[in-house]
């Protein structure tokens, strides 16, 4: 069979967000692939420069729906560092609780997506059912199921009611049992084993060379976790181990994520049982002095880094967001070559790509006089014309 170009995306059932792969395949085997992620650009970095510290936090929360707490925590801790502000311990502990709950719901979501990519819909439904429990806890703590709106510069916006803690701990027990069940299932279920093992393999050297982060790196045996390496918000007080293994394939990444579910449960238990008393937030000054901060955070998908520059005003001069997905993309392109066409969804899913994070930056033209509401027909006509020109039809 000659080489065929299989376009995957921007709209494709395997992708939950718009991205375009042009996969050049020889029969069923991938020869090469080209990547385009320019479908979701929202101009957030530019918009962040024009908002004060109160109003920018909800905006950053919307960089990504899954790791919303990661972006806000990373940002506010950067700003707090610039201001030299000390956040009360109780506030820090609550940040950790929400962060770990977020990690749990992200990993459970990922597990479901990975199962769905290989057509194992029962596992997909089960994990998402259990994820509901995590979101119920988050709803109880913050009032929202996603985009928790709990961070602000200086601390957290809501205190946790002491009466809610026993209920949360009980739910964690159930989740712990479920985690063990998934681990057992993934180790022994025959179809998941043959679809995950040996697929999308990255050796330790490759993982280092291509700059992978998060579970992708840890599954290749790299002990890289910002929570340990550059502790923030009192992670140095939390009992947890960095989960790594040497498989290097999708199976290894799955094991890492399930292991992290366990560790997250441990952290949340510890944090809730040892929750310090006192205030949950400090009053921040209105402006931040001139400073340059590289703020790093271990998001569910890996190391997230924000480069923040403040300049004696109540807004940032520059915010540069480097998301874990962008760091991991290069490794995907590498690990897909030579794999089967059927493995694209699962290998791509294995880094847990978050495209809304990665290509976050179209410009919202607020100042423009004309409205940008398009009718369906206009949009359709434009699309047809554009692609005619592009493809030279």
């Amino acid at each position: 069979m000659p080489e065929v170009v299989v376009p995957i995306g921007p709209y494709h059932p395997a992708l939950k967000e718009p991205v375009n792969f042009r996969v050049i395949a020889d029969g069923e085997v991938i020869v090469r692939l080209e990547l385009d992620i320019a479908y979701n650009h929202r101009g957030i970095e530019k918009a962040a420069e024009s908002r004060d510290f109160i109003r920018v936090v909800p905006l950053l929360e919307r960089i990504c729906g899954i790791c919303s707490h990661s972006h806000t925590t990373n940002f506010v801790k950067g700003i707090e560092e610039a201001m030299g502000l000390t956040v009360p311990r109780r506030g820090q502990y609550l940040r950790v609780v929400v962060a770990e709950l977020e990690r749990m719901h992200s990993h459970l979501l990922w597990l479901g997506v990975a199962a769905h990519e290989i057509g194992f819909n029962t596992l997909f439904m089960w994990t998402w059912r259990d994820r509901e429990a995590v979101q119920d806890i988050l709803e109880e703590i913050s009032g929202n199921r996603v985009n928790y709106a709990i961070n602000e510069v200086g601390g957290v916006r809501r205190d946790l009611r002491p009466s809610a803690i026993p209920g949360i701990l009980k739910r964690l027990d159930v989740l712990e049992k479920r985690t063990e069940r998934y681990l057992e299932l993934l180790r022994h279920e025959p179809t998941t084993a043959i679809r995950f093992q040996g697929v999308g393999r990255l050796s330790r050297a490759q993982a280092l060379e291509y700059g992978t982060v998060g579970p992708t790196a840890r599954a290749s045996g790299i002990d890289y976790d910002i929570r340990k390496d550059d502790p923030y918000v009192l992670y140095e007080e939390m009992p947890f181990a960095v989960v790594t293994n040497g498989h290097g394939d999708v199976y290894g990444r799955t094991l890492v994520r399930i292991g992290e579910l366990r560790e997250s449960i441990r952290i949340i238990r510890h944090a809730l049982e040892n929750l310090p008393q006192g205030a949950v937030r400090a009053t921040p000054p209105r402006v931040a002095p001139r400073a340059e901060i590289l703020s790093r955070y271990e998001a569910p998908r890996g190391e997230l880094s924000h480069f923040i520059r403040t300049n004696n005003t109540d807004r940032v001069e520059r915010l540069d967001v480097r998301t874990p997905t962008l760091a991991n993309w290069t490794s995907v392109a590498v690990s897909l070559v030579g794999q089967h066409l059927a493995d694209i969804p699962v290998v791509v899913a294995a880094i847990d790509p978050c495209l809304s994070c990665t290509s976050r930056i179209t410009v919202v033209d607020e100042g423009l006089a004309r409205t940008s509401v398009l009718t369906w027909d206009e949009l359709r006509a434009h699309g047809i014309r554009f692609y005619r020109e592009k493809e030279g039809l």
Partner: protein, 129 residues
């Protein structure tokens, strides 16, 4: 051996699920329970509002608009003033972050989030007064 146990565990769960109640609900007919402190639809308590515009300033989506609404109101300390404006919220631009409630100076809050879900509508321009 371990594999066998894992698979019987799996089949056991399948069998249990066949018997047990579904985890999903038939949404519009059954309501989703919400916990205490749920952030729902925004509401305005007009008689308490002193027209300070703080909510409109902190709102990240700028969905709160201050419109003319002259009225005599009591501020802290029992003093009476004449307020000039009152807030109006574009409901479907509101992201229910609760910053307006947090920064509202009155007691009880003149602008606050209820625990009632916002729901959906075909009318994008619903305004909460």
């Amino acid at each position: 051996m371990k594999r066998g146990r894992a698979l019987t565990g799996f089949l056991g769960e399948v069998a249990r699920n066949l018997r047990s109640k579904p985890a999903t609900i038939l949404y519009p007919y059954e309501k989703v329970p919400v916990p205490e402190g749920f952030r729902g639809r925004i509401a305005i308590l007009d008689e308490k509002c002193i027209g300070c515009s703080k909510c409109a300033i902190v709102c990240p989506t700028e969905c709160i608009e201050m419109v003319p609404g002259e009225r005599a109101v009591e501020v802290k300390g029992g003093r009476k003033i004449l307020r000039k404006r009152k807030p109006e919220v574009h409901l479907f631009a509101c992201i229910r972050c609760g910053l307006c409630e947090q920064y509202c100076p009155t007691d009880p809050k003149a602008i606050y989030l209820t625990t009632e879900p916002s729901g959906a509508s075909t009318d994008k321009g619903i305004i909460v007064r």
